[in-house]
Amino acid sequence: MSNKLKEKLEKAATIGRRELFNRGVVVAGGSAAILAGLNGEAKAEGEPIPVGQATPLTGFAAADGIEFQNGLNLACEEINAMGGILGRPLEPYFEDTKEMGDATNIQAVQRLIDRHGVYAILNGYNVGSGTAIQEVIADAGIIYVHYDTTIGHNNLIKSNPERYYGSFQADPAEYWYGPGYLKFMQQLEEQGKWKRANNKMAIITSAGVYSINIANALKETGKDYGWEVSLFETVNVPISEWGPTLAKIRQDPPGAIAITHFYPQDLAQFMVQFVPNPTPSLIYMQYGPTLPAFREVGKEAVNGVLFATVVGCLQDEIGRAFEKRYKEKFGANAGHMSGGQTFDGAYVWAIAAALAGGPGEQGNDEQNRKVATRMNQLIYRGVNGTTRFIPNENAAYTYPTQTNDSSLGMPHLFLQHQDYTKEPALIAPAPYGVGEFILPPWINA
């Protein structure tokens, strides 16, 4: 460690609360204090550091894409208020990935590299293969943080950690939705909060890699928890008419229904059509119900739906403070759950870069390897809980399925819509859960 860096770290340990407050650290919360400490007295007045984001600003995922942009903008603003990275301010640039095919994603990232000379790409998700952008990053020798939530990333990095050293998936792979949900249901049964009507499970997925991987994980591991798959249905998207699928469900009512398709409007329509003639099934969905559109379209029909996300903003001191700042800046209906992803991703990279003595520009392989090493060593506590990377996979650990220590993994959040006029209740995992599971009205009746 250089003497200069040592001095900065010592200073970080002794920095006063007033100083932190002046720099916005108390507002930002979490591990942000590390960055302020490393920056010391420095103001963000040096040469700007360009950072990029390739995100779906138009197209079917624009609702998330715009929030990803908001999240990075807010992070840059706050980081710059703390002195940037060792006195150099961050300057964000954005490119639209539209419908997010691999070709579009790669072109967008390449433009950020060629036109703006970005030091890092700080993305939310793009629903391409999830393994294409890493090639561009490896060739450019920069750092890439994303939330694609795909097991494909883990496998790619494992295949050649030396080449893909700079690519990081800052949330757990989608695979963990499957085992995580099965474990959660088991806990509900053990605690006597719910009893399955039978051992049958209906799995409904859409044709995308993401949804299918989750559905397959449920199918493969379900038998370990006593479940047999009675229906495995793949739907085309968008889908608004669920009649034929519901007819199959009603013909052979399952104890649990898991839907891994994730468009909020489609999922809301499922509930609207399910509720008038329900089966005694616990209904689980993932990701889509975290978005405001789900409640907006489904209204009271969504009450009782369980859903999960392997990355989501916590309803604790840090998460609530972030939500407040986010909504004050971007409006009351802004989706802080999505924005929180790129917000945390930017901090993880910025802190690691500061710890490494500064970020590396394109082709500065030596410096960027130092940054990547720091990222791998970091345990970052942000608005989504803990980010800690799996060595040689460069993807976040999930808690509690992969690690039983809540301080060492990103919480796999389970939420339930209990009153559609209010925010959903975060019911698990401990210690983050703030609400209790209640039986859905169609089972209770």
């Binding site: 079917f60 249905e233 008419e241 009649g243 034929p244 007819a247 907006e296 989706g335």
Partner: protein
Amino acid sequence: MTLDILTQIIASGLTLGAMYAVSTVGLSLVWGSLGMLNLAHGGLMAFGGYSAYYAMGALGLPLPAGLLAAILMGGLLGALTYHGAVRFMLRQKAFETNVVIATVGLAFVLENAVLKLFGAQAQRQPLQVEGAIQVGNVVVPLQNILILATALLLMLLVALLLKKSRIGRAVRATAMNREAAQLMGVRVGQIYALVLMLAGALAAVSGVMISSLTGLSPGMGADPMLKAFIICVVAGLGNVYGAVSAALALGLIEALAQFVLGVRFGFATLLLIVIVVLIWRPNGLFGRQQVTRL
């Protein structure tokens, strides 16, 4: 298959068919009378849906005013389509190809305008009819019945307009032979503008109806437009009555295929039908060899 399941499939099939039919009327009208494939049709549907949403949600206007706002917006956008693009291409040799490209561009403009004006988050269409009827154990929402009724009503209105009115005669004459109609004193430019306005209004109404089921989002028109395109091809280009009948039939077939073969095979079945129909009857089920499209 029990009676309840059969009822459910018929109810779902009619709902799908009604959504397809309501999307198809406007597209079929323009295709038939102008020989113009309007790929901005989906964008017009989205604008219509959002116009009703804005009128009823933000301005607090009653339901009829919401529908009227959508119709006016659709008509206005139809007029802009003509005056902004179509009329400059009418005399071009490759009109039919050029106008497709132009309307692709217009579709992008419309989708992004909605995105900028209303944001990317999906919204609920406030134009909703509450309640349902029970057929055996199957619940059929009144909203679905409203969509079916609207599709049939629009078809009848278009039929009456084309068959019984002076304007309709001029439209049919233009559809048969543009040059001959012009020589007979028909102001072809005005007819084009009128048809585009009418089709815009029809698209807007269909946008309101479809969004009452699917919710509003900037790209909401893309999927219904694709289905409408398939139906126009199966029915025979520009045949409005045939298109509505084909829409209902295809909706029923799709729902049955979804139940029997699996949901993922529903759309594939539609595409298979298109291939078979085009081999068997190249001008579509209701199309004629002559260019008498309406």
